[in-house]
Amino acid sequence: MSQSPQTGFDALRLFVCGVGGLGTLTVAHLLAAASLRAGRSVVTSEVHGMSQRGGSVQTNVIVGDARSPLIADGAADLFVGLEPLEALRYREKIGFETTAVVNTERVVPVTVTMGGPEYPDVDEIENTIGARARDAFFFNATEVAEELGNPRAANVVMLGAAFGLAKMPFSEEEFFAVLEKVFPARHLSLNRRAFVRGKQTASSYRCKRAMAAGGAT
């Protein structure tokens, strides 16, 4: 729903969800700041009443002409799920035009530990989201970040993957410029590498997908 052909109304809607502590708000902030740097207008909305206490966190980043701070159901252009169960929870934000990028590393909620409903099967989550999204890329960003030296950089790996797959309102240079402002110098190199690795992961996924599509025809 980025640009309405009838009205010329132009908005790019980026939805990020996760669990308190995974850096969901940082992802939203980076997306917003980079878009702003690229000269676009930005509105964001955070719903994080209890994020610090292990709760579910969702943020909306809307770039362009729109004024609403919230994204309507099915209207996300980019959907970043930092945790698979949270991606499932907010699935209604995903429509046919949505590019979804989801980290498969699970954070098991207390309700499951205490004998509530079981943690859903991640493959089933992938199928459900894949059925409604234009593109759905599931991978373990936490493992990628761990290889780089710190699992906490998984959120920036995810951003890199999103950048590699979806239409973004900013350039890589603009993103790095923002990164420099947001992170202290000692974390900068790690986050740069995380972004690049995420982007590479997405491109290899694109290649595989293209080959698979080619093979099918």
């Binding site: 729903m1 009205t7 109304f9 669990v19 502590g21 708000l25 940082t26 902030h29 917003a32 700041a33 702003l36 207008s41 930005v42 509105v43 964001t44 909305s45 955070e46 719903v47 009443g49 209890m50 610090q52 206490r53 292990g54 709760g55 579910s56 729109a66 004024r67 609403s68 701070p69 919230l70 309507a72 159901d73 099915g74 169960l85 949270e86 499932l88 929870r89 699935r91 209604e92 046919f96 909620p109 207390v110 309700t111 530990t113 205490m114 509530g116 409903p117 079981e118 943690y119 859903p120 099967d121 989550i125 459900t128 059925a131 409604r132 402002k181 947001v182 992170f183 202290p184 000692r186």
Partner: protein, 1136 residues
């Protein structure tokens, strides 16, 4: 959020005109206030307003603004009034419900007005994201009759804050700036303007007829307010930025707040901006009447889009009515617009589309199957939880242990509200800020005999909890108040409060000094992380009559981290998988089921932290306690004893039945190896385990509706014949039925029970007790065929033809084994077991009164025979036993009881001769000890020296091996394939519980024999005796003295066959059960998850409990409560 800040200067102050930063709505309000050169800011934090106060707190000194976190909203507004009276531009910030607290000063402040700008921020919370209600404070603006401005986004929040100050000063009235969560917590691009120069405050100028709201003055001031508001009403029509109007089209949408953005986007997306007029209102009281009338005259229909109350809608209808306008006004009730909760962009889009006309359609979204595309079952929620290491969790845990489930918990508002969720469920009421202290008073006055506990945070206590405590002291209420003092206002982001040490001005107020000064006699300050201490304090306080206060003091770890910075050494805890006894070990060792131990676990943990005072460093406990290990069927004794202590008798029975198919029988006749093994037997005597079992079984007879019967999970088709219905046959039938087999039990006697029915006299084991166990076995689907002698009436081969695929022989040993010296053929020498059978069948009734009787053999059969004789009226009964008393096989209590009833014993004695005369038997001559000879006169001599296999009933002579017994291998398999045997017929007379154990083994073997794949066979789960012997012994540091509950002995020796009354009352049973030292680690522990639920503790995919080291902050409370000492402290290297 790691936003780097310039070394000097707050970023909001560093901005220059023309800058376009992305700011939070709340930050934009601060910037607006700075541009208006605000001088004084007061606030009480509360979501979604908190960032306003926090931002001011961070920049106040630099900006030269006086800022304070006030004690509550009323105080904040009153301090603000004083400042504004003195000519200082003042901003007062709070959440919507805070305005209720500040309502009293607000109502009168409207009358006095203010000489300098006073802006009151009310951050409303439609949808109750983090509030106890969703009241619409635009109605408060109407009630107080004060101007109310409402921004739609961040930049407007800045502009309207400035405008609010201008209007406030122009009309000398406080102005309400109302935001909602979606405006306060939304970031947008803000256009920065220069900071203003208001100049210094003029100082207070006395004006008695204005600032003193005495009756005649207040009425006059009301008149002043009404006049001023008339002026405001005119002005709002003239101030351009209060109304944004597209002024086109024949229908109109009027919107307020964040809905303005939703409508803007909706009209653009629908492509109807040129024909649907959009009028955005930034002021909602008073409304711009002239402009609204103009609009209503120009259109046919109006749709009002406003969340919560129909404030604008009703005002438009009123206006249209007064002006007799022909215009249709819609709002609440149209499309998806209701008074409940927030509006959404989707709902607004669809409703505006519907309003716009038939040809306009909102973009549809296809329906997905299942729950919106998901067909994988319920999606687990992720509710907020107390943080890892939160001291409140420890406080709740201790209060739960001390107060129990029956106590009523009056809750309050703060992080600890989360104590209302699982697993604690310890917020039974939650009304508003500070309500707990007073509400607990009302609860305590109306719930006689129940404990009442109020929990309140430190900040909330000062906010409005004190008054309730004053009331409780004065009116003699009886409750315990736990003030959860974490040194900060944690819920809203760690703001200081009156008692916190981090204020830059003034002095901290001592909570305990305040509480003591109110006259509370019982005041304790305690560290909640020290579980044993806090539990003791909690008990002490709960016992105290009247109001008692425990101040649970430990700083919020997140707040501490913020002050101290990251620690050099990080301590976390890990789970020692060898010690942890969670269900992950279910198939090893003992276990009592997955879902029945909740109360037990808590009780066990409570024992550890509270009563035994055992600490983390105490020696490792045994994995299998001695009671369970010494029981031949390994009943989880400590499990059911703990269930009794916890008052869950149904669970206790369930634990017993999991291992023992004949619980009622054993509760009367077991020889109790468990009690011999009990650690307490070395001190004041063992826990009276068997009497507890009897209590549970008797309880079950009275409470059949509460019994949770075992379930046969999988039924299979194979038929098994069990021959003999004594303890062996019954147990094997039970276990086979539980394993899913179709079992038929054959019994030659008219009733089932074998030795239990015909060999044990009714005063020890009444028929109705045996029948209860038989009934439970029959409920599993076991078919009983009594009066059928297999071998005579029907052969095994015939049964095989009928489809039976396996046989279990438990025919017992009924033939007397008579020593040679007694084989005289004399009529007076009789078989004790036949006698007992007669007694049980009621064929002996006081027939042999007065005659001297000698019983040879002092085992249980001998004692039963002697005591039965007494009951038949014989006064002269002597038992002759070969062994000394200490080595005698009978249950010692039975010997004692027999002696008390008048039975004489001759131990260490051999019968040398049976003396007969003309009249038949005269007596026996015995040697006692080495040489003493004695003559015991007797009319009857009963032989109770053992039994042997009754060969003719042993079905097939070819099974008999090694003398007189049926020969089997270790698994109970005989020489014939498919034929198994156990019990007295195999091993000779044994104890009931040992026979049960052998039968259970045989059932397992039969299952293996009939199953294609041995792996499918449910294991026996018998404890490995060697592993038990090898394990580390539990060494209690100190055993608290706890004598056994004194058994009530019958005063008169029994003269009848009726069984003695129950020996334990419920209260006594629980007291007795509490003597258990819980020396074994529970095989099925889940306490850290079920009762503590620290978010750092989780169950992994393999079923094991683990700790997430990223979340663990090393508080160590889990280590204190774990009954198994499975949490170990680990120091991690910190990598930077």
């Amino acid at each position: 959020m790691a936003i780097r800040r310039p070394h000097s200067g707050h970023p909001l102050l560093a901005l220059s005109p023309g800058d376009r930063p992305l700011l939070l709505g709340n930050e934009a309000i601060v910037r607006g206030a700075m541009e208006a050169d605000v001088a004084v800011v007061t606030a009480y934090p509360g979501t979604p307003s908190s960032e306003i106060a926090d931002t001011f707190s961070a920049l106040a000194d630099e900006a030269g603004v006086y800022f304070e976190y006030s004690t509550n909203e009323k105080v904040a507004l009153e301090v603000g009034a004083g400042a504004a009276y003195s000519g200082a531009r003042t901003l007062v910030s709070m959440k919507h419900v805070g305005l209720n607290v500040a309502l009293e000063p607000l109502m009168s402040l409207a009358y006095t007005g203010v000489p300098a700008g006073l802006v009151v921020i009310s951050a409303d919370d439609p949808g109750c994201h983090s509030s106890q209600n969703e009241q619409d404070n635009r109605l408060i603006a109407r009630l107080a009759n004060l101007p109310c401005l409402e921004p739609a986004d961040a930049d407007e929040a800045r502009r309207l804050t400035k405008l609010a100050f201008e209007m406030s000063e122009r009309f000398e009235l406080p102005v309400l700036l109302r935001t909602t969560t979606r405006v306060s917590h939304t970031r947008g691009v803000v256009e920065i303007e220069a900071r203003g120069e208001a100049g210094p405050a003029r100082g207070f100028e006395k004006d008695f007829r204005r600032y003193v709201t005495m009756p005649p003055i207040s009425l006059q001031r009301h008149g002043v307010l009404l006049e001023a508001m008339d002026e405001v009403a005119k002005a709002v029509d003239e101030i351009d930025e209060l109304v944004v109007d597209t002024e086109c089209g024949s229908i109109a949408v009027v919107s307020t707040g964040v809905c303005r953005a939703y409508v803007y986007d909706a009209l653009a997306e629908l492509g109807v901006t040129d024909r649907v007029r959009h009028m955005e209102l930034a002021v909602t009281h008073p409304l711009p009447r002239r402009r609204l009338l103009q609009m209503m005259k120009a259109v046919d229909r109006v749709l009002v889009v406003e969340e919560l109350e129909p404030v604008v809608e009703e005002e438009l209808q009123r206006l249209a009515g007064v002006e007799r306008l022909d215009v249709e006004i819609r709002g609440k009730g149209f499309g998806e617009f209701i008074r409940l909760g927030e509006y959404t962009p989707d709902g607004v889009l669809r409703t505006v589309a519907r309003f716009s006309g038939e040809e306009v359609e909102a973009p549809g979204f296809p329906e997905f199957p299942g729950a919106n595309g998901w067909e994988g079952g319920p999606v687990p929620g992720r509710p907020p939880a107390l943080c890892a290491g939160c001291p409140h969790r420890a406080s709740f845990y201790a209060l739960k242990v001390a107060a129990g489930d029956d106590a009523i918990f009056a809750g309050d508002i703060g992080c600890y509200t989360l104590g209302g969720l699982d697993p604690f469920q310890m917020q039974d009421t939650l009304l508003c800020m500070g309500a707990s202290t007073a509400c607990a008073g009302g609860l305590s006055q109306t719930n006689e005999g129940r404990k009442v506990v109020a929990t309140i945070g430190d900040s909330t206590f000062f906010h409005s909890g004190i008054a309730g405590l004053v009331n409780a002291v004065r009116n003699g209420h009886d409750y315990t108040l736990a003030i959860l003092d974490n040194s900060t206002t944690a819920m809203t982001g760690h703001q200081p409060h009156p008692a916190s040490a981090d204020a830059t001005r003034g002095r901290p107020v001592s909570i305990e000094a305040v509480v003591r000064s109110l006259g509370v006699e019982k005041v304790e300050v305690v560290d909640p992380m020290d579980l044993p201490s806090i539990t003791e304090v909690a008990r002490d306080c709960l016992e105290h009559p009247g109001v008692s206060v425990m101040i649970c003091r430990e700083p919020c770890p997140l707040y501490q981290l913020r002050i101290d910075g990251a620690p050099k050494e990080r301590v976390v805890y890990r789970v020692d998988q060898n010690l942890c006894k969670t269900c992950g070990f279910k198939t090893q060792g003992l276990h009592c089921g997955a879902d029945i131990c909740s109360s037990t676990e808590l009780w066990r943990s409570k024992r550890k932290i509270a009563e035994l005072g055992l600490r983390v460093e105490d020696p490792v406990r045994e994995r299998v306690p001695p009671c369970g290990a010494s029981c031949p069927v390994n009943i989880c004794v400590h499990g059911y004893v703990a269930n009794v202590a916890a008052g869950d008798y149904a669970a206790a029975l369930q634990v017993i039945r999991q291992r023992n198919p004949l619980p009622s029988v054993c509760s009367r006749v077991c020889h109790r190896p468990c009690e011999d093994a009990c650690y307490r037997s070395d001190f004041e005597g063992p826990v009276e385990i068997n009497r507890l079992k009897r209590f549970v079984c008797d309880w079950a007879t009275e409470n059949t509706d509460q019994i949770r019967p075992p379930e046969v999970t999988e039924r299979r088709g194979e038929k098994v014949a069990v021959i003999g219905s004594g303890p062996g046959g019954l147990s094997c039938a039970h276990d086979l039925a539980m394993r899913g087999y179709e079992v038929t039990l054959f019994e030659q006697m008219p009733q089932a029970g074998g030795l239990l029915r015909y060999g044990i006299p009714p005063y020890r084991l009444p028929d109705e007790v045996l029948d209860r166990d038989l009934e439970w076995i029959a409920e599993l689907g076991v078919e009983f065929r009594c009066g059928v002698t297999v071998g005579t009436d029907i052969g095994l081969d015939e049964l095989a033809q009928q489809g039976f695929e396996a046989f279990f022989l438990a025919t017992g040993a009924w033939s007397p084994r008579v020593p040679e010296v007694l084989q005289t053929g004399c009529e007076g020498v009789r078989d004790a077991l036949s006698f007992l059978r007669d007694v049980n069948e009621g064929r002996r009734r006081r027939a042999e009164e007065g005659r001297p009787v000698v019983v040879v053999g002092g085992g249980n059969t001998g004692i039963d025979t002697a005591r039965s004789n007494l009951r038949l009226g014989n006064r002269n009964v002597t038992v002759v036993e070969r062994m000394p008393e200490s080595e005698c096989e009978a249950i010692p209590e039975e010997v004692e009881a027999a002696r008390a009833e008048g039975v004489d014993f001759v131990f260490d004695a051999q019968v040398e001769e049976v003396v007969t005369g003309d009249g038949g038997l005269e007596g026996v001559r015995v040697t006692v000890g080495e040489q003493t000879l004695a003559f015991l006169p007797a009319d009857v001599v009963f032989v109770a020296t053992g039994q042997k296999l009754d060969v003719p009933t042993a079905v097939s002579p070819q099974l008999v091996a090694c003398g007189d017994w049926i020969g089997t291998d270790e698994d109970g398999q005989t020489r014939l394939p498919g034929v198994f045997a156990a019990g007295d017929a195999v091993e000779g007379p044994g104890n009931v519980i040992e026979v049960i154990a052998a039968a259970k083994r045989a059932a397992h073997s039969i299952d293996k024999y009939l199953s294609e794949n041995e792996r499918d066979v449910e294991p026996l789960n018998f404890h490995d005796a060697q592993a038990y012997r090898d394990q580390a012994r539990y060494q209690p540091v100190e055993v608290p003295f706890a004598p056994a509950v004194e058994p009530r002995r019958p005063e008169e020796p029994a003269r009848t066959f009726s069984p003695p009354e129950a020996t334990l009352t419920e209260e006594e049973a629980r007291t007795e059960a509490e003597r258990c030292m819980a020396c074994g680690a529970c095989a099925n522990c889940n306490v850290c998850i079920d009762h503590f639920a620290c978010v750092a503790i989780y169950r992994d995919g393999d079923g094991r409990v683990r700790i997430n080291e990223n979340l663990c902050n090393g508080c160590g409370v889990c280590a204190e409560l774990c009954p198994n000492n499975a949490f170990e402290r680990v120091a991690l290297e910190v990598t930077r």
